[in-house]
Symmetry: C2
Amino acid sequence: MSHMARDSAKGRKGYHHGNLKQALVDATLALVVEKGPQGFTLAEAARQAGVSAAAPYRHFKGREDLIEEAARQGFEIFADLMEHAYETGQPSALAAFEATGRAYLAFSRRFPGHYITMFESGVSFASSPELKTLSDRAFGVLSNAARELSQHMPEDKRPPANMVSQHIWALSHGVVELFARGEPGTKSPFSAEDLLESGVGIYLRGLGLIERDE
Amino acid sequence: MSHMARDSAKGRKGYHHGNLKQALVDATLALVVEKGPQGFTLAEAARQAGVSAAAPYRHFKGREDLIEEAARQGFEIFADLMEHAYETGQPSALAAFEATGRAYLAFSRRFPGHYITMFESGVSFASSPELKTLSDRAFGVLSNAARELSQHMPEDKRPPANMVSQHIWALSHGVVELFARGEPGTKSPFSAEDLLESGVGIYLRGLGLIERDE
DNA sequence: TGTACATCAGTGAACGCGCGTTCACTGATGTAC
DNA sequence: TGTACATCAGTGAACGCGCGTTCACTGATGTAC
């Protein structure tokens, strides 16, 4: 078999794979990046893991279940990244907030497969209670950052903290979808990073949190 | 046949449909809304139009070609809507700009099938030169609005007009994707319209185009 | 107005394909004694 | 250390399915005379 060459790498012994579950998740992530959210098939993932089409059923209930596991892992990484970014910016509420915005984009760059399964595969963060919990953790970080930010704001024109976090979430998501993909035709002169950075900057100025001439 | 009841509505004569091309596009739009961007099949669209699976090939080269036509019509409507919104806001550069932002969201509401084929079907606005041209027209409106807006801005801290239009595009797109869908789990207390309106407002304030207490 | 005929826009049967899933099976591994 | 045996994690063949596409066909329509 053609995959034998890699058998020794992870304790693969021939008949027993040893690490199939994760290998299938990894194959899913790669496929989804390569062929788009729906281009992925259970059969192809099995093939890529060097295993028969029936094998995945030892670890997953079915096709949907595999995607969900990939998304689950994604949300976990995502939440960790957001939390880490938040802590990095502390104790400055402003720095923490900006950092979480950047973390969103950075996550989509470093884990494109996860990003796709999470936001474009149709699984969505309400498919299972577990995904809901995990996504709540991630977006909770952004919400908290927004809430703290709120307290540094001129009190008269202070929008709800949730609204602020949703603005940044939407802006980040839009930038990722439109400008961070390899898609041609989007030959923007600005990088996604620049776009998000400047957009958030202007927005924060609008909130009165950054001085006009910085 | 079960679809005979509707035959008289549009000149349907039994053997000849009379309006198949558009009927297939309409079926595509409905399917894509109902089952997601990839849930659509040529066979199902034909079925919904009350016609055999081979019939679509009289009007389209294949599956891909049908989606592309749907997207093409979408871009046309979209561009018209953007232009109309722009003119509505004139001669105020600010009002025109805000109107185009609103038009983006309004379009996604009124033509969800088109929106999906345009932005989520994988066809993308660079698949064909024709789509590219049409999408350029639509986004050109937004760019122009941003350019005019630029001239009303404090000259020292004036970001490139293209950047401004891309910020708004990204924010609009993000709001649509995250908060304008029926998806549960996104139980936001704010409507997509409110979110976009307030987000754009804060952003424009950040540009120095709206006074702090308005 | 009537007829012959070209063209148009459908039909329906057939194809090959890959998918998701099930099933009885079997080789490998771990454990009890 | 060796052996018996349960359990685990694979196999491979088979299934039914719906899809995209092709083909020779045929009914309906439009036009020339």
